[in-house]
C-alpha cells in the first residue's frame, strides 16, 4: 500500500485540506489557544501553529514564538486524539419509566467523519493501544470502534523533541512506520509525504504530486534521526513489567504519595487511559432519564468505592501504584503491550511535576528483583480481537417482575420473566446490570435460571438497590447481560463439591446448587456450609430447610450472632468444617461472601488440602460497564467483570487479599 514518496509544496497544503474536506471530513489538527498548542478544528493551513515551538519539563509547558515558517515544530499538545476517539462525555442510554413500564435503549450516535492531521508516531501507537483496550471484548465498545474506524490519520514525523519525550524507549517513535493513512515529514519548503493505506494512496493519487527528491527524503530521515538522538533512551524497559510486579511493596509508593495530589491529570492527558464512570440525569420525577459516561481515573477515591462506603483503593499510594503498574506492567497481561507510549504528557501536565521515568527507576530499578511473578496471566490475557469488526451496541432487555420473595429484612428475591434468549442462556455465576431509569445500575448476580426467566436476590445496600427491591409484581426493570465468566461446574464433575456461602453470597451459588442437584450423579459428595450474621439474615430459608432434608447432600448452617430461637451453631462459617473428616484432594469448592470471609475460607480449605486451582470464588468490585471497558473493577491484571467475577485462588495468586490493589 505504501506507494512512492511525493513532495507537497507548503503552498499546496491547502490542497490536501481540500481533498480531506472533499472526502466529507472535518479536519482536526494543531492550533494555538490559551498559550498552548491544542488539537481543534482547523479550517485552513493558516490556523496551524506556524512559527511556534513548545518546551516542556516536569510540571511545565511553555510556548515559544520563533518566526519560522514551519507549522509542525511544536511537541505534543496537552490534548490527545482520544478526545475524539474516546470523548470526555459519551451518551449511553435513554430511559423511560411510566408507571410500572420501563424502557431503556442504547444511544449510539453515528461517528463523525474526522481527519486527524499532524499525528505523531507515539500517538499512532496510542490510538492502537486504546482501541485494543476498548475492543478487547468479548463485548467491545461500539462508540469507540465507530469513531476509530471513521477517522483518517495524517501522520507528521517529529522534527523536534522535548525533555519529557521517551518514545524511543517505549519503541513507538519518533519514526512513523505504519498505522496512518498518510505519512508526512515537514521540511522548510514543504512536506515529503507517502501513503500508509489504500485510502491514503487514493487521496495522494488525487493530489497528483511530483515524486520527492531523494535529497528531500534524506533530509526528512536525518531530521527524525536527530530527534531520536536528542531523546536518547531515558527509560530502561527491559524486564519492566516483571520488575514492577516484584516491587508491589516498595516503600517508594508512600513517598511518591506524599507528593502526588491524586488530581488525575496524568491519566486524563494520557492518550491510552480509557477509564470512565457513568453519570445519570433525569427529569424531576425520574420518569425520563439518560446516562452518559465521562472520563474518570483510578486516582479518584470514588473509583474503587463499593456499598457501605468500603473502598478497595483508599490511599493515594494505592492509586499511584494502580496507575504506574497498570501503564507499565499489568497492561501487558491485559492487552499484550505496554500501556505507555512514552509521550511524556503525564510528566509535563502533572501540576507538581511528578515524573514517571524517575519513579520507575526508583521503584523498579534495573538491577532490582524480577520475581516471583505474583499472578499468572489473566485468563483472556492480551487477546486482541481477531478482527476489528463493527461492535454491536449494548442490549438493554426489559423484564417484568413476576413475584417478590422477602428473604430477610433488607433482602428480596425478584422473579423476573423474560423471553430473551441471551439472558435465558445465562450460566451460574454470571451477573447482570440492573437498570431502573434515573438510578445508577448496580451489578447483581443471577440467583436462579429458569426456562422463562431469571431470579435476582438483592440486598438493599443503597438507593439503587433499595428502589429495586421495593418493586412489586408487574413492575418492569431492564437488564444488561449476562456478563462475566460463570462458575466452572464442569471442572467439578466426578469430584466432591463444597459450597461455602456468607450472607447474600448464597445468591450467586444458588444456581450452582440447582445445577448440581439437577445432575446429581455427575458429582461425588456435596456439602453446603452456610453462614449468616443472624438467624434472621439467612437467605432462601425454606429452600435450605428442604435441602437439609435430602440424603444426597450435607447442609450445615452457622450464624455470627444467635437469637433465643436459634438452636444451631454460632461462629464463623469455617467452623462448620473445622472438624470435618472429608479429604481435601477430591474437593472442588465454590465460595462467595464478604472478602474477609472468602480469605478465611480459602485459607481453611487450602489448609485441608484442597488444591488452590479447585477453590473458586466470586469477587465484588465497583463496576460501571461490566464488559472490561470502564476500568473500575481492576484487580492487578484482571478485570473482575470480564475475567471473573469467578476466579480460582490459583489464578488470583497474591493479588487475592492484597490491600489496596
Amino acid at each position: 500500500m505504501t506507494g512512492a514518496t511525493c513532495f507537497l509544496p507548503r503552498a499546496d497544503l491547502d490542497r490536501l485540506f481540500a481533498a480531506l474536506r472533499a472526502d466529507d471530513r472535518t479536519i482536526l489538527g494543531p492550533a494555538v489557544s490559551d498559550g498552548a498548542v491544542i488539537y481543534d478544528e482547523v479550517a485552513s493551513p493558516a490556523e496551524l501553529p506556524t512559527g511556534w515551538e513548545s518546551d516542556t519539563e516536569p510540571g511545565s509547558y511553555r510556548l515559544r514564538e520563533t518566526g519560522s515558517s514551519r507549522a509542525f515544530d511544536y511537541v505534543l499538545p496537552v490534548t490527545s486524539w482520544k478526545r475524539y476517539t474516546h470523548p470526555a462525555f459519551v451518551p449511553l442510554t435513554r430511559a423511560r419509566r411510566d408507571g410500572s413500564q420501563v424502557e431503556v435503549e442504547a444511544v449510539l450516535d453515528p461517528p463523525p467523519r474526522l481527519a486527524f492531521v499532524g499525528v505523531r508516531a507515539c500517538e499512532i501507537a496510542a490510538l492502537d493501544i486504546q482501541e485494543r483496550a476498548m475492543r478487547a471484548g468479548p463485548i467491545g465498545d461500539a462508540d469507540h470502534a465507530g469513531r476509530r474506524d471513521a477517522a483518517l490519520v495524517v501522520a507528521m514525523e517529529c522534527a523536534a523533541a522535548t525533555s519529557t519525550c521517551f518514545c524511543t524507549s517505549m519503541g513507538t517513535g519518533p519514526e512513523v512506520r505504519q498505522g496512518a493513512d498518510l505519512i508526512a515529514s515537514e521540511l522548510d519548503e514543504g512536506f515529503v509525504i507517502r501513503s500508509g493505506s489504500a485510502t491514503g494512496a487514493a487521496m495522494l493519487a488525487g493530489l497528483d504530486l511530483e515524486p520527492a527528491d531523494p535529497a528531500q527524503v534524506e533530509r526528512a530521515a536525518a531530521q527524525v534521526a536527530a530527534v531520536r538522538t536528542r531523546i536518547g533512551d531515558p527509560v530502561a524497559v527491559e524486564g519492566l513489567p516483571e520488575r514492577l510486579r516484584a516491587a508491589l511493596d516498595s516503600p517508594r509508593w508512600e513517598q511518591v504519595a506524599e507528593r502526588c495530589l491524586a488530581c488525575a491529570n496524568c491519566t486524563l492527558v494520557c492518550p491510552t487511559c480509557f477509564c470512565t464512570s457513568v453519570g445519570v440525569a433525569s427529569d424531576l420525577d425520574g420518569q425520563e432519564a439518560t446516562t452518559e459516561r465521562h472520563w474518570d481515573s483510578c486516582f479518584s477515591l470514588g473509583f474503587g468505592r463499593v456499598a457501605g462506603d468500603a473502598n478497595f483503593r483508599p490511599k493515594v499510594k494505592d492509586r499511584y501504584r494502580q496507575w504506574l503498574t497498570h501503564k507499565f506492567s499489568t497492561w501487558f497481561d491485559q492487552f499484550g503491550s505496554s500501556g505507555c507510549v512514552g509521550c511524556g504528557r503525564c510528566v509535563a501536565w502533572c501540576p507538581v511535576g511528578i515524573d514517571v521515568r524517575e519513579e520507575l527507576a526508583a521503584i523498579a530499578p534495573v538491577e532490582g528483583p524480577r520475581g516471583p511473578i505474583p499472578w499468572p496471566p489473566a485468563p483472556d490475557a492480551g487477546h486482541a480481537p481477531a478482527a476489528l469488526t463493527v461492535v454491536a451496541p449494548a442490549r438493554h432487555v426489559t423484564t417484568s417482575v413476576v413475584a417478590v420473595t422477602q428473604e430477610t429484612a433488607d433482602t428480596a428475591t425478584l422473579r423476573l420473566a423474560t423471553s430473551d434468549a441471551a439472558l435465558l442462556a445465562a450460566r451460574p455465576g454470571q451477573f447482570v446490570m440492573v437498570e431502573l431509569p434515573a438510578f445508577a445500575a448496580p451489578p447483581i448476580s443471577i440467583s436462579g435460571i429458569r426456562p422463562d426467566g431469571l431470579d435476582l436476590t438483592i440486598r438493599s445496600a443503597g438507593p439503587a438497590t433499595a428502589a429495586i427491591v421495593a418493586l412489586g409484581p408487574g413492575a418492569q426493570v431492564a437488564l444488561r447481560g449476562p456478563l462475566g465468566r460463570g462458575w466452572p461446574l464442569e471442572s467439578a464433575a466426578g469430584r466432591d463439591v463444597v459450597i461455602v456461602a456468607g450472607g447474600v453470597g448464597l445468591a450467586p451459588l444458588r444456581p450452582v446448587i440447582e445445577a448440581v442437584l439437577a445432575d446429581r450423579a455427575r458429582y461425588g459428595a456435596v456439602r453446603l456450609y452456610l453462614g449468616a450474621r443472624t438467624p434472621g439474615d439467612r437467605l432462601f430459608a425454606a429452600e435450605v430447610a428442604a435441602l437439609a432434608g435430602r440424603s444426597d447432600l450435607e447442609v450445615a448452617e452457622i450464624v455470627d450472632r444467635a437469637g433465643p430461637e436459634w438452636l444451631g451453631q454460632v461462629g464463623i462459617v469455617t467452623h462448620l468444617f473445622d472438624h470435618a473428616t472429608w479429604n481435601g484432594d477430591r474437593v472442588t469448592a465454590f465460595v462467595c461472601g464478604p472478602e474477609r470471609m472468602m480469605q478465611a475460607t480459602a485459607a481453611a480449605l487450602t489448609g485441608r488440602g484442597v488444591d488452590p486451582a479447585a477453590i473458586w470464588l466470586t469477587l465484588e468490585r465497583n463496576m460501571a460497564c461490566g464488559v472490561g471497558t470502564c476500568g473500575h473493577c481492576q484487580l492487578g491484571p484482571f478485570f473482575v467483570c470480564r475475567d471473573g467475577p469467578v476466579f480460582s485462588i490459583a489464578e488470583l495468586g497474591t493479588a487475592f487479599g492484597r490491600e489496596g490493589l
Binding site: 490559551d34 486524563l268 453519570g279 424531576l284 465521562h294 433499595a466
Partner: protein, 287 residues
C-alpha cells in the same frame, strides 16, 4: 465521580396532589443570600419543583414562615452570634435532614478569615459603631454546632448541583455530587491547565469539583470555593507553590472562601496565617 449519600431513601415522585410532599425550609445565617437565590436560577423548573415540595420557609421568595418541622432544611450562612447558635440548635431539632449550602455554611465563608484575628480589631476596622455588633469570636461552619446530613458546596452553590440534589430528593436516588478534584472537570472540558502552561497558582488539584472549572476556563487559577476535595494534598501543592513564592504568598493562596476548612486551614497556619495586620501590628511572618 462519586455520588453523595442519598437524602430521603425510598421517597418517590411526590407531586402537588400527593399527601406527602416533603416540607422544605430554607434559612440563612451570616451570608449574602447568593446561595438561596440559586434556587431562583432553576427558572424553567422552579414551578415544577414547587409542585413537588412544600416550601414552608423561604424568606427570599415567600412571606411564609414556619417553626418546622422540616423534612429537609437548607441552611445558608455561617454561625457568628450566640443567638445564631441557639437558633441552629432549635432548627436541628425540628429538621429530619439538615443540609448546609454554600461556602459560609459548610466552611465558615470568607468572614472566617477573621477567625485568625482578635475580634475587636476586626470590628473596629469594619464597623463605625462597634458597640452594636454582637459577635462570637469566630465565624464558624454549621457543622461545628450541629450534625449535618449533607452539603452543597460553593460560593455560590451551583444551580446544577442544587437541581441534582432536589431530583435525588424527589426520586430517591443518590445525588451525584462528586468529591473529586476540579482538575477532572477541567480536563474533561478541554481547558488548558493554567498552572502548567502559565505558571498561575491553581487550587484545582485540592478543591472539590462542582463549579465546572470556571476559573481555569477563564484563564484564572481556582480559588477553592468548593472547599477541600477528598484526599486533598495541600502540603504537596503548597510546597510546589513555595518554589517560586514567599510563604506569605502561599498562605494567601489558600485564604479564600473556604480558608477555615481543613486542610486549607492547617496549610494557611503553616505559612504564617492569612494576610492582614496582626493584633500587635505585625504582618504575617514570612517563614
Amino acid at each position: 465521580m462519586e455520588p453523595q449519600q442519598l437524602i430521603m431513601p425510598g421517597r418517590r415522585s411526590p407531586r402537588a396532589d400527593a399527601p406527602n410532599r416533603p416540607r422544605i425550609g430554607i434559612v440563612k445565617f451570616a451570608s449574602c443570600d447568593g446561595c438561596q437565590l440559586t434556587l431562583l436560577d432553576l427558572e424553567d423548573e422552579l414551578l415544577a419543583v414547587a409542585e413537588r415540595v412544600d416550601l414552608v420557609e423561604f424568606a427570599e421568595a415567600t412571606s411564609r414562615r414556619s417553626m418546622g418541622p422540616f423534612d429537609v432544611l437548607f441552611v445558608e450562612g455561617s454561625i457568628s452570634t450566640a443567638e445564631q447558635v441557639e437558633e441552629i440548635v432549635r432548627l436541628r431539632a425540628v429538621s429530619h435532614r439538615l443540609i448546609t449550602i454554600g461556602a459560609c455554611a459548610t466552611a465558615g465563608g470568607i468572614q472566617a478569615i477573621r477567625n485568625w484575628f482578635e475580634l475587636d480589631e476586626v470590628r473596629d476596622t469594619v464597623y463605625p459603631g462597634p458597640t452594636y455588633v454582637e459577635s462570637l469570636a469566630q465565624a464558624r461552619p454549621v457543622s461545628d454546632f450541629v450534625a449535618v446530613d449533607g452539603e452543597l458546596r460553593g460560593c455560590p452553590i451551583s444551580p446544577a448541583q442544587l437541581r441534582e440534589f432536589l431530583v435525588s430528593m424527589v426520586t430517591g436516588r443518590r445525588a451525584q455530587l462528586p468529591d473529586e478534584a476540579v482538575c477532572l472537570e477541567c480536563k474533561r472540558r478541554g481547558v488548558v491547565c493554567v498552572a502548567v502552561a502559565d505558571g498561575i497558582p491553581c487550587l484545582g488539584p485540592v478543591t472539590r469539583t462542582g463549579c465546572g472549572a470556571i476559573c481555569p476556563a477563564y484563564g484564572r487559577g481556582c480559588y477553592g470555593c468548593f472547599g477541600p476535595r477528598e484526599s486533598a494534598n495541600t502540603a504537596s501543592l503548597a510546597k510546589w507553590f513555595s518554589d517560586s513564592r514567599s510563604a506569605v504568598e502561599v498562605g494567601r493562596l489558600f485564604s479564600g472562601f473556604t480558608a477555615w476548612s481543613e486542610p486549607f486551614r492547617a496549610t494557611i497556619d503553616a505559612h504564617g496565617g492569612p494576610p492582614g495586620q496582626r493584633a500587635d501590628g505585625s504582618e504575617p511572618r514570612d517563614a
